[in-house]
């Protein structure tokens, strides 16, 4: 490895991201070349200085949460692209069902819903009529609330009657 090649991979060398062979070649070159060794030391000292400067100033509290939300949205914890289950809450965990089981469950839920909706109309027409004569009802309560006389107390179900009487 010559100087030009070393300078191209210097960042990767410091980050230890080179392959083992490339890293050995780079290390041999640094030991032999004083200029590249000095360049490596300068870059390491620069990075260290930057870390020290950044460590002195804490980020705003809200910024950490906002960045976490962007980088780790809730749905990522449910739908993992690689199929691996992450640490999520119980209600947020991914549930996988076989397609036939899911179809059966879906049909059951839809059928139950339809049954509940149609239940009042499906009663046999011969069923008894709900009669509310005599007793107080919501309508009479409304009447009482508006100050009108409640007629239900007079109503015994009789037929209207008209007759003459002496004065």
């Amino acid at each position: 490895m010559d100087c030009k090649e070393f300078r191209e991979v210097l960042d990767l060398y410091i980050d230890r991201e080179l392959s083992s062979e490339a890293e050995n070649s780079a290390r041999l070159h640094v030991n032999e070349c004083s200029r590249c060794r000095r360049a490596e030391q300068q870059l390491r000292s620069l990075r260290r200085a930057l870390k020290e400067m950044v460590a002195k100033n804490d980020p705003p509290l809200g910024l950490v949460g906002a960045v976490n939300k962007i980088s780790h949205p809730w749905w990522k914890s449910v739908f993992t692209p690689d199929g691996q289950q992450r640490r999520t809450r119980l209600w947020g965990r991914q549930v996988t069902l076989p397609a036939p089981v899911f179809a059966v469950l879906l049909l059951f839920v839809l059928g139950l819903g339809a049954l509940l909706v149609r239940r009042p109309a499906s009663t046999a027409p011969t069923a008894s009529i709900s009669q509310n004569r005599g007793g107080p009802t919501a309508a009479t309560s409304t009447e009482a609330a508006t100050g009108a006389i409640d007629l239900s107390r007079f109503d015994q179900g009789g037929r209207v009657s008209l007759y003459k009487a002496p004065r």
């Binding site: 009042p120 009669q131 009108a148 006389i149 409640d150 007079f154 037929r159 209207v160 003459k164």
Partner: protein, 322 residues
């Protein structure tokens, strides 16, 4: 000389007849002004009765000339009553009251949550003296439950005689005590009740029979016999015709008021003593004094002839459309 005497006598006769005519007219006008005109006041009172005690809920008076009608409406949350009173002074001390009672009660709800109503219709005709009153029980007699509340509406007629021209006064409604929540409402109207009818039968445009009735009360059936005249043929002479005519109601309309009516045409089979109803249940709405024509050719056996029935209705004497 003879001409002068004749002229003087003619002028004198004209003057005397003019004076007599105007004196009679003035006397009759004066008499009509001084004659006590009659008005009738109905006191309508609604009571709540319980264990012998009664509480006045509402009170209204309706006053107007004879023939004033009124409606009493009772409106609750689940019960409604419309009572219509059609009144006529048939004698000096007697009223004829025709009553239409319509009630509607919410019975309950169907299984489909639709309201179910119990409806009742009654018609009554009562002759009421001024020493009597009408008692209306909207919910019937509750004799079995003596301690239960009972609603009673009493209608008491009063005859009022006034020396002034009472006909010009409009009818009046006075609310002496209003019911809470518009429970009971009273409405009054004055429309003509008495009509005169003329019925003419034409055969090929020629009058062959005629009949009339002078004082037909509204909602009361009248039989009008048609008397054949000299032009009537054997088809009419041998089978006298009569009408069962009922004036149903007076209809306010513009430009002219109308009268709704129903009639049935009857053929009387002489010799057999039977009556054949030939044109049953015809109906119409006629304008006052305008003839209504009906083609009744199909009900006569003379082939080729056109028989036409014309009915003309007018207000009876003494009736006022205003």
């Amino acid at each position: 000389m003879f001409k002068r005497i004749s002229l003087v006598l003619a002028v004198a006769g004209l003057a005397i007849s003019t004076v007599i005519f105007f004196r009679v007219e003035l006397a009759s006008v004066s008499a009509s002004l001084n004659e006590p005109s009659k008005r009738i006041r109905f006191d309508v009172a609604a009571f709540e009765e319980r264990s012998g005690t009664r509480e006045l809920l509402a009170e209204t008076t309706v006053e107007g000339p004879p023939g004033t009608d009124f409606d009493i409406k009772l409106q609750g949350a689940r019960f409604r009553m419309d009572a219509r009173f059609v009144n006529d002074l048939v004698a000096s001390e007697s009223l004829q009251v025709r009553v239409d009672l319509n009630t509607r009660r919410l019975y309950g709800q169907s299984e489909r949550n639709l309201p179910l109503y119990e409806e009742d219709t009654q018609k009554q005709t009562l002759h009421l003296g001024f020493e009597e009153k009408l008692v209306l029980l909207p919910f019937g007699r509750n004799d079995s439950t003596l301690n239960s509340d009972q609603l009673k509406i009493e209608i008491t007629p009063n005859l009022i005689e006034q020396t002034t021209s009472a006909k010009t006064r409009p009818l009046e409604i006075k609310i002496l005590k209003a019911s809470t929540g518009n429970l009971i409402t009273v409405e009054a109207t004055k429309v003509p009740h008495r009509f005169s009818w003329t019925v003419v039968l034409f055969k090929d445009g020629q009058e062959v029979a005629k009949g009339a009735v002078e004082d037909a009360l509204v909602e009361q059936a009248q039989e009008i016999s048609l008397k054949p005249n000299a032009q009537a043929g054997a088809d009419v002479l041998g089978n006298p015709i009569s009408l069962d005519l009922t004036t149903m109601r007076y209809v306010r309309n513009r430009p002219q008021d109308q009268v709704a009516f129903e009639f049935s045409l009857h053929h009387h089979q002489t010799g057999q003593g039977t009556t054949e109803m030939t044109a049953p249940e015809a109906a119409g709405i006629a304008q006052l004094t305008e003839p209504m024509s009906y083609d009744v050719s199909d009900y006569f056996k003379s082939a080729g002839a056109k028989y036409e029935l014309k009915l003309i209705v007018k207000l009876a004497a003494g009736e006022d459309a205003k």
